[in-house]
Every structure is written in C-alpha cells, then in structure tokens.
Symmetry: C2
Subunit: 293 residues, 2 copies
DNA sequence: CAAATAGTGTCTTTAAGACATTATTAT
DNA sequence: ATAATAATGTCTTAAAGACACTATTTG
C-alpha cells in the first residue's frame, strides 16, 4: 500500500524533494578509552611483577588544549557508524585490527569543546598491550600508555524529601615516566539516573578525565559478571596473572581458591608450564573460546 | 603558562580565528523508550489483574514511514545536552516533568533514516503510567501505550577458530487494541562486543524495533542488580504488585519468599492496607528513598 | 635449604531455590 | 464455607568467603 501525506506526495516523491535545511548540526567524534594491563618492573629475580591497568593517551600537538593529553579519537565520517570510526582510530593508533570494543556513552555538554559544537561518542577497547608498537596519528605528537590509579576519596548519602542521593568523590591519577595527570570526579547516583561531574583537572584535555572515569566504572562493573577481562590477556597466561588483572581492575585483593572456582569455565588448560621462575612452575591457560591445538 | 602552536597563535587567538569548515555533520536525535507497567483488565472480582510492560509509541503523521509507529524523539538543539533533549521530549509527550532517565546507546547506521544522515542517541525512561494524559507532539498524529511481548525463539552457539559466538533470535510483539506490531531481532554476543540486527519488521518506523529490543535487554539486565524497577511503581504499592513487575520484566515467575528477602531493603512499610479485595488485605509499601510521613 | 609461588582441600557463611503452612478477607 | 491472596517458616542447594596445607621450583 502507498501512503500519501498532506501534500499528496508518496514517500519516494517526498524523499526526492527532501531538503535537510539549515538546522545547526553537531560534529560527532568517536573517542576511545583503550585499556591494557602491563607489568610493573620486576622487583627481584623470584618475585612476580605487579600488574597495572593502563590507558592510551595522546599528547595534543595543536590547539585547543595544546600540550595536554587526550584520548585517541576522530570525527565520524558520513558513510560509517561510530563503531567503525572508533575501530579506524584504534587501528591508526595501535596498528591492531580488532579488539574487544564497546560503546560507552555519548557526552554532549554544549561547551565540552571550545571550538564548536562537538559531541563525543565514547568507546572502550580492551587489548593485550605487550608487543604493540604505538604510532601517533596526524594531529598528535606523542602516544603513551599511562598507569591508572583510581581511588575513592569520600562517600556521602543525602536524604531529602524528593529522594536520596549517594555522592562519591573519586581521584584519578595517570602516570607515565615523570608525567602525572590528575583529576577528581564527583559521581551522584540518584533517582533520575547517575551523573558524573569533573571537579578538578590537571593535564587532561577536554572532558576526557570524565570519560576515563566513566569507562573505569563500566569496566569494574562488568568484570564481575562477564568474561570481558579475558580480552586484556595474552594468548597464554597463568591463573595468577588473570587474578592480578581482576584485582587491579577491582582495586581489591581476591581469595585464590574462590577466584579459581569462579573463572574455571572461562579458561582451558594447555599443559604447558612457565619455566625458570625461582619457584614452582605454573601452568599456562588459554581463553575458553580459543580452540586448542 | 601560555602555549603557542605552529602558527604562533595562543589558544585565545586560535579560537577567535577558528572556522569549523564544511565537514559534513550528522543530525543527532534523542529518542526515548518510555516504559510503564499497567494492569490488564481484571478477570473477575477477586482475582488480581495481571501486569503488563508497556512502551509509548507515536503514530507518524508525515513522511518518512507515514502511518508507522515510532519512538518519541526529536533533534538535539545547539545549547542543550542529549539528556536535556530527551527530557524535553518526555515532557511534551507525557506532561511528566521528571522520571528515571538513562542513556542507552547511540545508533548510527548511515542509512537508518532515509532522509539524511541522522544518528539516534537512545534513552530509556521509567515511570508509573497511571493517570498520565498522553498528548501527541507536533508531527505526530497519535500517542499510545503498547503492550510488550518479547520472547526468545532460538538460541545457538557457534565455535570457530577465531572465537565462539552466541546467537539469539528474539521476537518482539507490540499490541494496542487491534494494532499489532511485529519484529524479530538477532543478537550476537561475540568477542568483539555485542550486536543487534533487525531481521523482520512490520509496523515500526526506522530502526526503532532494534532500539526497543536493546532497551528491553538493558532493563532485564539491570532489574536484577539495581533498584530501577521501583521507578515503575506508584507511590504506594503491594509487594505482590512489585513482584509482578519484576516477573513481567524478566519474563519468568519468581518465588515469593525469596523475592521478599531480596527486595526487603528497597521498600518501607506504611501500615496502610488494601481494602475490599475478596481476600486477605495486603500492606502498602513505599520506596526506600521516599521518607515516611 | 630457603624463598617464592602453585595448586587444593575444607570449613564457614551467606544467598537463592523450592515448598509448605498459617492467616485474613468479601461474598 | 470458599476462593482467593498475604505473609512467613524452614529445609535444601549452591555459591562465596576465609584459611590452611601440601607441592615444586631455582639459586
């Protein structure tokens, strides 16, 4: 059946004569929070190195926020989805063709970019960072992995007649060599949904501290009930390494026996063992979804 | 300190001379999946009415998709956030000033709107629908609550060397009076993150069936570990009603004793009781965050 | 052997699942 | 009385928390 509108046009005719007009439109960028886990320098010959959660940042080589550190990202182009734009950015920055990718949230405060109206559709990617050759994109001068420290400073509960809200103040510290970036974010969970606001910011461009905080919350939350942490592991890993990854994301120690019970269906034995550690060798495991061979 | 870029401009000078240029930009719409729970007509005088999950749809009064049913939504304007645009739309359509609101995902397939490049930043709102006067917006001819039926038709697991994927085929049926809208969506959960594709669609405009399916998944998931279902309740409710809401969202029956143990900290007794039911009266409860009086 | 980590066993605690029983109401 | 729902008790099952113990390795 063919529908006719008030001006007696069919849909084909309507689309043929359609003029998008001059409504103002935003630019839309796909920004990437790329997480990896790496090892801190080994303390002594038989101790295991500590794991650290890292995020990829790029030093801005142009205005605005010249010299500040920013998330990799770029504008979405006409014939692609935001996810495709994010993947393109991932490839350009890390050379990696595919990785776990998840859309997070679209950040749209009108003045988040001083140039013009730019929304950011933020994504999170997880990968094993060992052996990745970082290459900075066009308008970037430098790309680096920053070590993440994210701690709860303060928590308070306010009860008002219209509802109660829980406010948390978090501190974000990103370190790479001598460079330390610093931010504080306030998170309020109320009845109209959650919100994050930036209360302090030193060294990070735009609202990227807020986006990183949002991503860390998502990661912490999902690590507890999904298998997404496996995407941060190399092909072969020990269960202690996997546990360290869970611990560094959650920011708390876990019991070994309970942890192994919990993740036993997510991994498969390989029969291979670590060698030349100053202690009993541990077995290497692989992800459950990668078939043995 | 003042940074100077390659053209020796300060940030102020740079912004003053900045010209956004003619990169193509998308329109960005905020679309709303507004959920309510209502009672089916009471079967007999002493039986409790069944609850049903409902979503608000608007009949399109113009091209494209003339006559089809669509989610309420509108374009984001220059000095507002997508969340503000969503709230504006909620107000226009329902008259409700505030409700639980959560951003879901930005849908950006380039051809999702036949007119031009339009992204949809989808939101979910939860409210008690009793006593809401629906008023259709400008380009809409009719606004109605549709009863949701969402069922799993098929599930399969594929293991390939590059990873295993789990595919589910879901059927969405939306009913209001004699109008039945119908769609099927395929959901794949793999290692590159999840994806939803529309495989069949009858009566719904654009990719809105996909957005509704996405919202139902989010709702089902979050109902299990948050208190968001309370936002669907009126000020006073019985525990059986609350349980029915959980059941209609999850699509499965729950054990009464276990349910009450689980939600006991989310509600407060009021001491008031239902009257004139053909059975033992049940106590009315309120949400934990609304103070007693 | 000493200093590490690997890998398990097991007891306790808590939460969820599955019924069953008793209590109240309006007709 | 009867047909409903309300409210709670309790036994079972499963998962998580908390330790402790034994097994291997290399300098």
């Amino acid at each position: 059946m063919t529908h006719i509108n008030q001006n007696s046009l069919t849909e084909q005719e309507f689309l043929a004569q359609y003029n998008p007009g001059y409504y103002p439109r935003p630019s839309v960028a796909a920004d990437m929070v790329i997480f990896t886990v790496g090892s801190a320098p080994e303390p002594n010959y038989r101790k295991l190195p500590e794991k650290e959660l890292r995020v990829l940042l790029i030093r801005r080589g142009g205005h605005p926020h010249l010299g500040k550190w920013a998330l990799p990202g770029g504008f979405v182009r006409p014939r692609e989805t935001v996810g495709e734009a994010a993947l393109r950015e991932l490839r350009e920055e890390t050379g990696v063709e595919s990785a776990y990718l998840e859309q997070l949230c679209t950040f749209s405060e009108p003045d988040r970019d001083p140039r013009t109206w730019v929304m950011s559709c933020a994504h999170m990617a997880l990968m094993d960072g060992e052996g990745i050759q970082l290459s900075a994109g066009d308008d970037a001068s430098d790309a680096r992995w920053f070590r993440i420290k994210y701690t709860l400073l303060e928590e308070s509960k306010t009860v008002s007649p219209s509802g109660s809200t829980c406010t948390q103040l978090w501190q974000l510290e990103l370190t790479e060599g001598d460079t330390v970036l610093f931010a504080k974010v306030r998170q309020t969970s109320g009845q109209q949904g959650d919100e994050i606001t930036l209360t302090e910011n030193d060294g990070l461009a735009f609202d990227h501290a807020k986006i990183i905080a949002y991503a860390i919350h998502r990661l912490r939350n999902k690590v507890e009930y999904t298998d997404l942490a496996l995407n941060l592991m190399p092909e072969r890993f020990t269960l202690t390494e996997l546990q360290q990854v869970y611990e560094v994301i959650l920011g708390e120690p876990l019991y070994k026996a309970a942890f192994r019970r919990k993740i036993k269906d997510l991994v498969r034995e390989t029969g291979e063992y670590i060698e030349n550690a100053g202690h009993r060798p541990s077995q290497l495991f692989r992800r459950y979804w990668e078939e043995s061979r």
